[in-house]
Each structure stands twice: as C-alpha cells, then as structure tokens.
Symmetry: C2
Subunit: 371 residues, 2 copies
C-alpha cells in the first residue's frame, strides 16, 4: 500500500485557501491546467501536467517524461501517468471517482481543450457537468506568502548581481546582443534558472521602443543604454529597469530621466494597503503629464510579479485592484521620444501591512546612472 506523504506546510496552506475559495464558489472539484498554478499548488516544476483538486485528493496528471520528477518533487500528490491525452486521463479519474460536476478556469482553458474535455467526459460512464468559471488560483497568487517573498528577493538579488558584474565589464563597442548575453550569463552563473523574460538592451535611440529586442547595434560613447531584465529563481521572477549613461548623453534624455525618477519615487512612496491600482498609477502619470510628456508614457505604471512575469494585478489607469499586504508589483514609469531615446526606471515593491518595502536595492539617482 502506498504510504501517504504529508504536504509541506506552505503548500498545505495554499491548498486550504483554494479549497475555501472552491467551497465559497460551490465548485468542489477544480481542474487546474495552467502550469504556474499547478506548480504553485503542488510543488511540481514541469510542464504539460494538470492538477485536479477534489475535497479528498489532489491528482496530478502527467506523462512518462515527468514521472520520476513528480515522485521526487511532490510525492504528496496522487500521480497519474497518462498514455493518451490529458482530457482522457482526467475523464478516467472523474469516471472512477464518480465525480458529478467539475469546474475549469476560463483564463487558461482553450476552446479546443474545453471541447476535448466535453467529449472525453461524455464517455466516462456517467453524466458530468462541466463549468468554466473565473480562475480561483490566480487571485490567491496575488498575495505572496513568506516562502514566495524569499524567492522573489533571491530573484532580485541575482538580477542585481548580474547587473553589477555587467556594469563592471561594460565597454563601448559591445553590441546589444553581447551585453544581453553577458547579463544573462552572470545571472545564471549566480544560480538563476534563466532570465525571467527576454532581456531588453536598447542602445541610444532604440530606448524609445519599450519592448525593443537586442540586436547588433553597438554601445557608443555619449549615449544612453536602457536595460530591462530579471532573473528566475525556483520559479519566481524579478523585473528591473536601469539606464546607463556613457559619456555625455543628450540633455533631453537627462531631463526626462529626472521626470521619470520623480514620478517613480512619488508612486512608490504612496504604496500601501488600501490604495487602488489606478490611484498609484495616477500619481506617477500626473507628474509626467505636468512635465509635458503625458503622451510619451503610453503603458501602465506596473504589474504584479511572481511565477508569471505579468501577473493578474496591475497599476494602470483602469486598474481597480485594492492593494493588500503580500502583493509584489513593479513600478516602472517611462518616457519615450522616437528618434531621441527613452527612459524607464523600474523597481520591485512589496506591499506590507504598514506600507511597502522596495525589494530592489540598486540606486537609481542620476549620478548612479553614469558609467
């Protein structure tokens, strides 16, 4: 007989919170098919696997590539190693356990998967009601527990280490690609699993493209470099942006740097439980508007980070989220002037019961931007 393995306390607490949400929404059986949600709940760090949370059990449906890994990483789940599709394996559990109704999360289930599920469930031997509802795991993930905060802090520390190593070795003539390669290398050597998203390295006027990808453009003297990067550590991500000024940058760039920094500092200072996402966004946006650059700041002020690089909550003009202790958000205003360049400054901020704590520690005054 299989020995039942105890859930570790932090995962047990997440599961209890999910089951409470399921109870409240009257959705006792929930399919969790989104990878980061599955990892958050079970501790399993692989792909292509679904969790099924019932009042009695947590099933993990995976395939042979991951069976040994599941046994190592999360012996507390009931593993099913599928031979056919995920939907068929799920229907088998539903059939055997006589589950009468099942919910799935509408944000992560595709229309194709919903169809496959309905087909598979129709053959499971009894009638099953399938309901697609707003996700229950994603809202839980907004507020990080102590284990998660520690991992995000590590992801920040590794990203900052990489930046400092890069800055020490930075030379004019290096291409954006080389700079990105070196930054990611230094983060990985220090223990990052990977970059937390595609590193942005934009030299000179390329900085005006907020999501620019590095290319073969070289770093020149008397120009600005924009770096937007992060590290992933044990599934958790950091997200930072810094400018590096090499020599004398255009006066306009220095001017917008000061505006962006003032906007960022003011927004961070206001962060505390009870503030809404749009209130925080407005503080930064008003400062940029007043300086005459309102139209040059087209994106949101920030977003939640964690297992995903863009989590559900956002700091934006339309965001109604009420900040709570445990939320971790980026604060990243920017001003983009096509043909001239762009400035963005980004830090990661934890909402605390008493206000906030900035998790990132790299200075961002204009003096520190100079190489």
């Amino acid at each position: 007989m299989a020995v039942k393995v105890q859930w570790p306390p932090h995962l047990g607490a997440r599961l209890a919170a999910l089951r409470a949400a399921q109870h409240k929404k009257k959705l006792p059986v929930l399919l969790v098919n989104y990878g980061p949600d599955v990892s958050y709940l079970t501790g399993f760090e692989g792909d292509d696997s679904w969790a099924l949370v019932t009042p009695e059990s947590v099933w993990l449906i995976t395939d042979s590539r991951y069976s040994e890994q599941v046994s190592r990483q999360c012996p507390w789940v009931r593993m099913v190693v599928r031979k056919k599709g995920l939907a068929e394996a799920l229907a088998r559990i539903v059939g055997r356990s006589r589950i009468g109704s099942l919910a799935a999360q509408e944000e992560s289930l595709t229309v194709r998967e919903e169809r496959s599920l309905r087909t598979a469930l129709s053959k499971c031997g009894h009638k099953v009601a399938l309901k697609t509802a707003a996700g229950l795991v994603v809202p839980l993930r907004n507020c990080k527990d102590a284990v998660e905060i520690k991992l995000i802090e590590q992801a920040v520390a590794v990203a900052e280490h990489g930046f400092e190593k890069l800055k020490a070795g930075l030379r004019t003539g290096m291409t954006e690609n080389e700079i990105a390669a070196l930054l990611v290398y230094e983060m990985r050597r220090r223990g990052a699993e990977d970059a937390s998203f595609e590193t942005i390295v934009a030299a000179g006027a390329n900085g005006s493209l907020p999501h620019y990808r590095p290319g073969s453009v070289k770093l020149e003297n008397n120009s600005a470099l924009l770096l937007d990067w992060g590290a992933r550590v044990a599934g958790y991500r950091s997200d930072l942006t810094r400018m590096i000024f090499v020599g004398q940058v255009p006066r306009k760039v220095e001017e917008i740097y000061q505006v962006v920094r003032e906007a960022q500092q003011a927004a961070i200072a206001a962060i505390k439980p009870g503030m809404t996402g749009n209130e925080v966004d407005k503080i930064a946006r008003n400062i940029i508007k007043k300086a005459g650059y309102g139209k040059a700041f087209g994106h949101s002020l920030g977003h939640g980070i964690g297992r995903d690089i863009h989590e559900q909550l956002s700091l934006s003009p339309r965001s109604t989220v009420i900040l709570e202790a445990g939320m971790v958000v980026t604060v990243e205003p920017g001003i983009y002037l096509p043909g001239i360049g762009g400035v963005r400054i980004e830090d990661d901020v934890l909402v605390t019961p008493g206000g906030h704590r900035v998790l990132s520690t790299l200075p961002n005054d204009i003096g520190s931007a100079r190489l």
Copy 2:
C-alpha cells in the same frame, strides 16, 4: 493619404495560402490571436497583438508599446493602436467594416477570450456570428518556405557553434548551471536571440529525467553529461541533444548509447514524403524494444520545429501525419534508466522532395561523444 506598402513576396505567399484555406473552409474573416501565427503572417515580432485577416485587409491590433515597432517591421498591415482591450478594438473594426461573421482559432483562444469577444461583438452595432474552428494558420506552418528553412539552418548553426565552444571549455567540477550558462552565452554572442527553450544539462544519473533542469550538481570524471539545447534566430528554433562522456562512463550507458544511435539513424534514413509519423516512430521504437529497452523509451520520437519548439506535427505511435517536403522535425529517441542515467540523441531533419536532409552537422558516433 496613407501610402499602401507592398507586402514582401514570402509574406504575400503565406497570406495567399491562408486566404485560400479560409475560402475553402468558408471562413472569410479570421482572427489570428496566437503570437507565432501573427509573426508568421505579418512579420511583426512583438507580443499581445492580434491580426484580423479579411478578404480586403490585414489589420494588426496592438498597443502603444509596439506602435513604433509595427511601423518599422510591417508597414504593410493596417495598424490599430488600442487604448482598451483587444476584444473591444476588434469589435470596433468589425463594426466599422460591417463584418457579419468572424472565425477564431480554437487552439489559441481561451474560454475567457471567447466570452470577452462575444460581449464586445454584441455591442458593435450589428449582429455578428462568431465561430471557433480548428486553426488555419498552424497547418500552413508545418511546411516551411525557403526563408524559414534558412532561418532554422542559422538557428542550428548557432546552436552547434555554442556546443563546440562549450565542449572546448568543459571541465570536471563545473556545475550543470554553469554549463548551461556558458552554452547559452556562446549562442547569444554568436547572434541567437535566446535559447530556443530551457536548456537541459543533466550530469550522471540525472540524465534519466528527460526534462531535467540544470542545478548545482557538478560534472564528475567517469560520468556522462546529457545536453538538450537550441538557439532562436529571428523567431526560428533549433533543438539538439548530445551526450558528452567524461572519462570511463558506466558500461550500461555505452550500451544504450549504441542502441539509441542505431534507432535514430534508422528512423532518419526512412524519412521521406509519404511516410507517416507513426511509421517513422515505429522504426526507432522497434530497435529499442528488440534491445530490451521498450519501456525505457516513454516519449515520442520527434516533433515539428519552427517558430514554436513543439509544433503541431509529431513522430509518435499515434501520429497520423503524412510527411511532406518542407516539414522540419526532430528525431530524438532515448533510453532512461533511473539511478543509472539516460541517453538521448537528437537531430533536426528537413523533409525534401527526394527524401530528407539532416540540418544538424555535429557527429554523433560514440567516439565523438567522448570528451
């Protein structure tokens, strides 16, 4: 008045093929909401953007972060810079253009997005029929055109360059993390945008976990190292696996290496137009079975590569795909023995009118595996 920019010929041909498929399926207006599909059709390389293909136009709905990039990368589309949600922006085009029926691809549309679309379309001023159907772009992407094959070849070349640089610098005592960091660094320095997926570096017995992630385990003398890696170049991906034997590896590992290699060579030799995915898989699988390791080869033989690392077509026991010239597949049999280690060998193979061409050039005989 806006000047109409001509589509480049290769994109024009893809668009013509899509419109022919739309005509055949009687779906004249198609929403394309999957990033790699959007890039394939339009040339735009950013995220969070949808394309709408009508008989007259190709619209690209994006946001302010990407507006300058769209103007540079694909001036031939009709760009819409949205202020609100994607669904609302789409409904506005549908309303103004008096589009009466619209299809979306069921594999990439979430249930949530379908709901948002239906809500937005219901407010567009006239009745619109929304149909979700099997994707039309993904099947087109199975067969690569000359531009795509060239990019995959570049992605292979960069990955091989990285491997050779790594091998030259490989030393016992390096951790899996350091090895992965160095490999990715060398690929990026040579022009890869990024690794094409999370690099797998598994030392010793870790090789028995097909999707192992690198950790702090050190490379030891008299052990085997499994590397599964690739590069992304201009959106296209390579995917290779090689073993490196340091000193004298366990005899069992040498034995399964020979079996895996024989299986791989036989499967590659059989690849030509008209073969089915399961036929090719069976050739490799039978050799592994005959050697007594059938249960130790749990995954598929291979998969299509291109803009995605796992594309639609597969070489597997259940695959009914008929190979056609232009398809690019991985061929990657493996044998995994928990506690002892694992062996996998993987190359990238183009189906040609006369048979096949192996795009990867690194030798894989057992002699070349030895460091």
